[in-house]
Symmetry: C2
Subunit: 343 residues, 2 copies
């Protein structure tokens, strides 16, 4: 049925071991003539090695898992941000000779099984909460190297790659303050002591401190980072926060929703309300007005995640510290000087 190593070996009149060496590029151990002969027969017979046999024998799968939270059992909705990361992770793995197993995780308790059943060589966690990552112990992880994207967890068993969320939020907020805004709404998910949102909140506060300004504590809207939540918030934003002249949203997709809600409510952006996002999605340059936002380099984030993870897979040494990537402010059309006129 299937063409196996044994078939190639007998056709070539050599041992399976030799064929294996040729197929795996260990040419130092085989004569050039033998390499050529085996190669030819491999091509003729269309031999493709069995990845499962190889994994089993070598105790290495060349498979990396990308684990993404699935809201519930019924959906794996990929945010634009996660989609960009996913595409880049796949590409980067492929170039390194690894394959990607994509797995939606409905419950963090599934993580151990997900990591171990396929003998994954490593795994990337995308979009999990720091507290979920904190809970992963040696028992859960086994010996599988795990890297968490966008995590600030200090779990010593995992490695982290993230953008400089603190600085990003600080830049965005400083930009608004520079435009004369003082009543700036912070819109995003609930923030605890740690994690991406907490970092952005800290950066937000730091910008006020930098400017020697005080701040209205009540200007916080807790929402999910979805267009839908943004739309709802935007529709009633000035009713809930009449003093606000600007919004810092923790994600572009949220900011875009907010702008859509404001548009429906007849609130002009940026004339009445400035809006800043975070991510710099492609989409953010497509909407009207074009969104001012904090650009993070998602390609670099994905590439570095793969590089760091594979280094750990191969050398079995964990990077000493997490990696934080630079961000920059992209000024477009959704922000303008705070107006002094009464509304």
């Amino acid at each position: 049925m299937r063409v196996t190593l044994r078939d190639i070996a007998s056709a070539a009149g050599v041992s399976m071991m030799t064929v294996s060496n040729v197929v795996n590029g260990n040419h130092a151990r085989v004569s050039p003539a033998t390499v050529a002969k085996v190669r030819r027969i491999v091509d003729e017979l269309g031999y493709v090695p069995s990845a499962s046999a190889r994994s089993l024998a070598a105790r290495a799968s060349h498979l990396v898992g990308l684990l993404v939270p699935a809201a519930d059992e019924d959906s794996l909705t990929l945010s634009p941000h996660n989609t960009a990361i996913l595409g880049q992770v796949e590409r980067s793995l492929r170039k390194s000779g690894y394959h990607l197993l994509l797995r939606g995780i409905a419950d963090p308790a599934e993580i151990p099984e997900a990591l171990r059943s396929w003998s994954l060589d490593g795994a990337i966690l995308l979009g999990f909460l720091d507290e979920e990552i904190d809970r992963l112990g040696a028992v859960e992880l086994g010996r599988v190297p795990v890297l968490a994207i966008d995590s600030y967890s200090d779990n010593p068993l995992t490695t982290g790659v993230r953008s400089d969320d603190f600085t990003g939020a600080r830049l965005a907020t400083a930009h608004l303050i520079g435009l004369g805004h003082r009543e700036i709404l912070f819109a995003g998910p609930a923030f605890g002591d740690a994690g991406v949102v907490a970092e952005r909140r800290r950066g937000f506060l730091a910008a006020f401190a930098d400017a020697g300004l005080s701040r209205s504590d009540g200007l916080v809207a807790t929402v999910n980072t979805t267009h839908e939540d943004g739309l709802a918030l935007g529709g009633h934003l000035l009713e809930r926060f009449p003093s606000a002249t600007a919004v810092f949203a923790t994600a572009d997709i949220l900011a875009i929703g907010v702008m859509a809600g404001l548009a429906e409510a007849g609130v002009p952006v940026p004339a009445r309300l400035s809006v800043v996002g975070f991510d710099d999605l492609d989409l953010s340059a497509y909407v009207t007005p074009k969104l001012t936002t904090v650009a993070q380099d998602m390609t670099a984030k994905a590439d570095n995640a793969v590089t760091l993870l594979l280094a750990e897979v191969k050398d079995e040494r964990r990077p000493e510290s997490p990696l934080t990537l630079p961000v920059r402010l992209v000024e477009r059309d959704s922000t303008a000087p705070a107006s002094r006129s009464p509304w």
Copy 2:
């Protein structure tokens, strides 16, 4: 090191075979007491079966590949449409106990290797051209069931699932004609005799025939379905096609780009030019003006793809005919009656 079937068997004092039956739910063949005992020990020791050993022994991997074209070796850029399909395919597979291997394909010649190396139980091809699918023969596919999404290839070795592209385009075009438009630009990729774009072109033409109208043959813009290409087209649209009063774009992301280009060029939509897309992305309701488009049910497309593929995997019988899913027109704000005023 790793907990194996053998460990469980000896701890439970039964054979590996019995443990295997318990783990795989063949309870008919094991006494309830034994099931309970084995189960307890499995939990205690944290046993997770080895997928590669299982694949090798059973000659079935419970792995399904999702193959997506990668523009070049350097990128796997997922369109919004493909992202939606991907997320739904993962979810649907997971609910059926299968796993998803995501693979970017830089060259169709990689397909055979991709299908066979992991002993995939089946594969879904997303976004390949019909001619690429036509070329897949028994040698390339091996015995792996393959389903192509959005394909009209009549390759008997593959199954197809797609939306009713013909009817979608016909509805969209009839909508424009009903609004008084006669000079309608068809914007999309090059269309041959077959494939999604060809079907949409046929539907476009059919709408004119339905209305007993003739049509300006030159009103075709050949572009890729990206925002970027749309932007470029929109920027010079009226220079290239001064008579046009409407555009039918073969994808929302293209239509949205066109609208952005038109906006930059100062061409009002829909006052001067109506625009219709195809897909009904989430995004399409976010842009200004909201896009009139043909909605296809991507959830259904992905779910049916998985269902059909798994039926073939399990029963080894190929569905007798490809599946075509219904579409509907969603009228929003990017279309309006053709103006009679001179421009």
